[in-house]
């Protein structure tokens, strides 16, 4: 048995599983395809139902992961091949070049000032810009810059070189190349997380291409104190404060004909949170929420939605939106209120669509590499959804987080610890077996000695 675990994905679930295993004294290889860890939780403004600031609770965890002596963090990395079986998986990991030497970079930011390239910042969901050399967020772990080779003016041959000139400690290395490493691990936890649904054909009705129509994660960045507006809610088109905001739930979810049949589970709660946070920032504003069912199943969740309705005067309208379109600098929202059976027309300044949760685009590829199953949408399937919810069915491969299906942070964290428990049990059982075997091996020697005597 190789007593080392591989964790694919360093969002909150991968981090939790890594910490639980590493704190138990085992080595962990944590592989993340992005330049920094934290996943989508790092992008969130506050979290429901306590309105804790997401960064404030997450950053110490990220630092803990980054500094843990038993966790080897491989960012900008992808698992490309897996062979072998539980106890001895042979894994090939492709490490994309960062073009910045991690051990040297001190995150001083001198390089950024000289970079002439401006591209949309993914971390801010395109609401702000970044340079070709950048750090995803000020709290990023590892706190190291990286160079986006797509955006850079040209690495081969080198067309600019300004960032390297500016870097006094010479941490920038344009000659870095992709590198494939091979490792052996005993167990694997798959925690590849989610993306938001972006099917143009389906989302077109909501006019998602309009700057003042955004998805939930964009709105998180708009609310975030560390976001592009410093937490001020202003609409992207003309930088005015929106007075009427419409939230559309089930954007692509629960729509078997034109989207996805499943429920994305977390949107009801984050929309209620968005409504409350918006009202805290714009007390004179008005919020409308279009919903089918309000799904507030969780500790303190029901009470939280009640607070959005009662204290923050959010108007909940039970019904679907049929059309969103721009008119006279505003957005017309046409819908129906199924409780009064009347048409509803709202002239909104900003529209936020709770876009469906879809598995990471990598999930099918990872599943194939590992020989585990995914459902028709690409979510991993557990061996038995009820009795063994974190086991993939393949011995030694365990599952955690939204890769299994939509779920919220506490569920994800508990489940990731659950996956860690399976790894810990497997390692501990193997150790016990090894001890027993060693004892057995020693026995004949003892017998031989007896014979000699």
């Amino acid at each position: 048995m190789n007593y080392r675990a591989l964790i694919i994905g360093a969002g909150i679930s991968g981090m939790q599983a890594a910490l639980d295993i590493a704190n138990s004294g085992y080595e962990v290889l944590l592989v993340e395809k992005e330049p920094a860890i934290g996943g989508h939780m790092a992008q969130l403004s506050e979290t429901f139902p306590t309105l804790d600031c997401s960064q404030c609770i997450l950053t110490p965890r990220m630092v803990e992961v980054g500094q843990h002596p038993n966790i080897h963090l491989l960012t900008l990395s992808e698992v490309v091949d897996v062979q072998g079986e539980m106890g001895a998986f042979r894994v090939r990991i492709l490490r994309h070049p960062r073009y910045v030497i991690e051990e040297k970079c001190t995150a001083c930011g001198d390089c950024v000032a000289t970079c002439p390239v401006v591209v949309p910042n993914e971390f801010d969901r395109g609401l702000a810009a970044r340079r070709a050399i950048y750090i995803p967020s000020p709290q990023a772990v590892p706190a190291v810059y990286c160079l986006d080779p797509e955006a850079c003016l040209g690495l081969f041959p080198l067309a600019c070189g300004k960032c390297a000139d500016a870097c006094q400690i010479q941490a920038i290395d344009y000659d870095m190349r992709p590198e494939t490493i091979e490792v052996e691990v005993g167990a694997i936890v798959v925690a590849t997380g989610y993306e938001l649904y972006q099917d143009e054909a389906v989302m077109a009705y909501a006019y998602m291409s309009h700057p003042d129509v955004m998805d939930g994660l964009e709105f998180e960045r708009l609310l975030s104190a560390s976001g592009p507006t410093g937490g001020q809610v202003i609409r992207p088109s003309d930088r005015t404060v929106p007075r009427e905001v419409v939230f559309i739930q089930c954007g692509g979810s629960r729509n078997p004909e034109h989207g996805l049949p499943y429920c994305s589970k977390i949107c009801c709660m984050y929309t209620a949170k968005h409504a409350i946070l918006y009202k805290h920032r714009v007390p004179e504003g008005q919020v409308y929420v279009f919903y089918i069912d309000i799904r507030a199943g969780g500790k303190g969740y029901e009470e939280f939605v009640a607070r959005a309705i009662e204290e923050d005067d959010t108007v909940y309208i039970r019904g679907r939106v049929s059309r969103v379109f721009p008119k006279d600098g505003k957005l017309m929202v046409w819908g129906v209120d199924t409780l009064t059976n009347s048409k509803v027309e709202i002239t909104a300044d900003l529209v936020v669509v709770a876009a469906a949760i879809v598995p990471s685009p990598d999930s099918r590829r990872i599943a194939e590499l590992l020989g585990i199953d995914v459902d028709e949408f690409g979510f991993y399937t557990a061996a038995d959804a009820e009795m063994t919810p974190v086991e993939s069915g393949k011995p030694g491969v365990f599952l955690a987080g939204v890769g299994l299906g939509p779920q919220d942070i506490p569920e994800t964290v508990a489940q990731a610890s659950g996956a860690a428990a399976k790894v810990l049990s497997a390692f501990a059982a193997a150790k016990a077996e090894e001890r027993a075997r060693r004892a057995l091996e020693l026995e004949p020697e003892i017998q031989n000695e007896a014979v000699v005597q």
Binding site: I12, Q16, D20, N23, S24, G25, T47, D52, I57, L58, R61, Q67, T106, A107, C108, G109, P138, P256, P261, Y262, C263, K265, C268, D293, I294, R295, A296, G297, G298, K299, G300, E302, T338, L339, D384, A385, E386, M387, T388, P389, V390, L404, G405, P406, I409, P410, E411, A414, Q415, S417, G418, A419, A420, A421, K422, L424, S425, F427, A428, A432
Partner: protein
């Protein structure tokens, strides 16, 4: 007089871009207790740490202040660094001049510099009075106690035992299986619940590392993380365990609290758990309680007591929407000629495959979902009349039902509140055990060494319970992987000359860490239980209670710096 070294970090331009770090060094260098003050571009880098270590020897420093980023980032780093140079790590403090200074005062460099000086000076004053402390080492008894033998408790027990550690599983009933044993089927795996459960029960009973104490209850808990002594009703001697998993589950809501639905008054109004029992027998079991006749018209009322802050419970019981869909489908399978009606407020089928499942109930099984509350349930001729409203059509609805099934709330186990007191683990106003943090520490209680699994923490369904129970097991395994537990020494202490043994601290302590010594007649602190909250410090009329390295002297001196005294 102390000899304190102050190390001011530029953090590239993060601090130095706003704060004039050289001026901070110059001003703080004039402090009588400061023997050396310097700046460096990245104090956390290897050369930066080297600078700190070498300066300790060179300037014979007995305390260190690092003015840099938040202590959450690098307090551990610098404490390790000073320890490597032979200084007690508790004589190193971090002044946060980045997050709480340069980053938030970007446009006011002058005042930011002044604030950085003052922030650093408060830490100098603190270090001057910091004691050299040693962390506590606690031994760990590598045996776990699981309270509750339902699916959550069994799963947690199995995960811990499979790793080779002994587990004692205490169950108040005479058998294992909990509420799941009463189910006819789970919603993903119809009619398989008893089979699924039996296998788990067998695994638990056959496990060489699990000792099951059925028909027993936990009566008393003493000790602290790693070292609990637990009295169980079935045992003469206390049980010594290192960790406790609370998996006490839930109890049904009394029907008598639902008179508007004919609860406990009308024989043919039953709760979901009773209906599960009927379904277990198939069509034969579905005879209605009043006359044994097979019901044709069955009305399911969701949120019968849940989401009702005035009369019932304010929370959502989370599982009922799916349970009702399953029950209605099973009823239709056993009684194809029957009709099922479901009154609901919102259909909460959030979970993998759940929404599709409810869709099937409506489309493939013709179950009639009515969005609205039921206003009244009363006795008709041979039937039960249900009056409600369909909020979608705005029409009143009347159904003459043969049987009414109430989806009543999940209440926390009857024993939860008492057990919470016994364990000194907090329960919320509804009686569910409180987790240490609602987002990031969902399976830990606020009491070290006590973990939570299943519905004891809040309503949840079987897959979530099973995952979470394994999560609780992970925390136990993590603890058992340590030979000793290291406890921070910055806990409460007593100045014995001032203590009058009045007991105010004992009353104030939420963790049971304080007691009055029976012989010496002074207050004592159990350092393993103390969480350094400071409640005793404020409660003590004689100022005999203090927190190590957070003494009133230190805090007041720090405050003096800030108000400019």
């Amino acid at each position: 007089m102390s000899r304190i070294g102050v190390f001011i970090c530029h953090c590239g331009i993060n601090i130095a871009g706003t704060v004039d770090v050289e001026r901070v060094a110059e001003e703080i260098g004039q402090h009588p207790q400061v023997a050396y003050a310097t700046t460096y571009s990245y104090m956390c880098s290897d050369p930066g740490q080297q600078l700190v270590r070498e300066s300790i020897a060179e300037y014979d420093l007995d305390g260190v202040v690092v003015a840099a980023c938040s202590p959450a980032m690098h307090e551990a780093t610098f404490r390790r660094a000073v320890a490597a140079a032979g200084l007690n790590p508790y004589r190193c403090e971090i002044a946060n001049i980045r997050e709480q200074c340069s980053w938030v005062h970007e446009h006011e460099p002058g005042r930011a510099t002044q604030k950085a000086v003052e922030t650093t000076r408060t830490c100098v004053e603190k270090v001057a009075w910091d004691e050299a402390l040693e962390p506590f080492h606690l031994s760990v008894i590598k045996r776990a106690l699981v309270i509750g033998g339902g699916i959550a408790g069994m799963q947690a027990a199995l995960d811990v035992a499979n790793a080779g550690f002994p587990v004692v599983l205490v169950e108040r009933e005479g058998r294992l299986g909990g509420k799941m044993a009463a189910l006819s089927g789970t919603y993903l795996n119809f009619s398989a619940a008893p089979g699924l459960l039996e296998r788990k029960v067998e695994q638990v009973l056959d496990h060489p590392h699990i000792e099951v104490l059925a028909g027993a209850q936990v009566t008393e808990v003493e000790g602290y993380v790693g070292n609990f002594a637990v009295r169980v009703s079935a045992l003469a001697d206390p049980l010594e365990v290192g960790a406790i998993v609370v998996a006490t589950g839930w109890d049904p809501y009394p029907l008598s609290r639902l008179p508007e639905y004919g609860g406990s008054e009308l024989a043919d109004v039953v709760d979901g758990l009773t209906f599960e029992g009927m379904l277990q027998e198939g069509r034969a079991g579905l005879g209605r309680p009043s006359d044994g006749r097979t019901p044709r018209e069955v009305v399911f009322i969701q949120c019968a007591g849940s989401r009702d802050p005035e009369r019932g419970v304010p929370y959502c019981s989370k599982v009922c929407c799916m349970v009702v869909a399953k029950q209605a489908i099973m009823f239709k399978e056993y009684v194809p000629e029957g009709q099922a009606y479901v009154f609901y407020i919102d259909i909460r089928s959030a979970g993998k495959g759940y929404d599709e499942y409810v869709q099937r109930a409506m489309e493939d099984h013709d179950i009639l979902y009515l969005r609205g509350k039921v206003s009244k349930v009363f006795r008709g001729r041979d039937q039960v009349i249900v009056w409600g409203v369909d909020t979608l059509s705005g029409q009143p609805v009347e159904v003459a039902a043969d049987l009414v099934v109430l989806a009543t709330p999940m209440l926390p186990s009857r024993q939860a509140v008492t057990l919470g007191q016994t364990l000194r683990a907090a329960v919320d106003q509804s009686g569910f055990f409180s987790e240490a943090h609602p987002k990031l520490r969902p399976v830990e209680s606020l009491t070290a060494g006590v973990f939570l699994a299943g519905v004891a923490q809040g309503p949840k369904d079987i897959p979530e319970t099973v995952s979470q129970a394994s999560g609780a097991a992970a925390k136990v395994l993590q603890m058992f992987s340590q030979e000793v537990l290291i406890q921070e020494p910055t806990v409460a202490c007593v100045i014995e000359q001032f203590c009058s043994a009045c007991g105010a601290c004992v009353e104030a302590c939420p963790y049971g860490a304080r007691a009055i010594h029976p012989l010496w007649h002074i207050a004592t602190v159990n350092a393993a239980l103390c969480q350094s909250c400071g409640a005793c410090v404020t409660a003590c009329p004689n100022k005999a209670c203090q927190i190590h390295n957070w003494t009133p002297k230190q805090i007041l001196t720090m405050a003096d710096v800030l108000v400019g005294v």
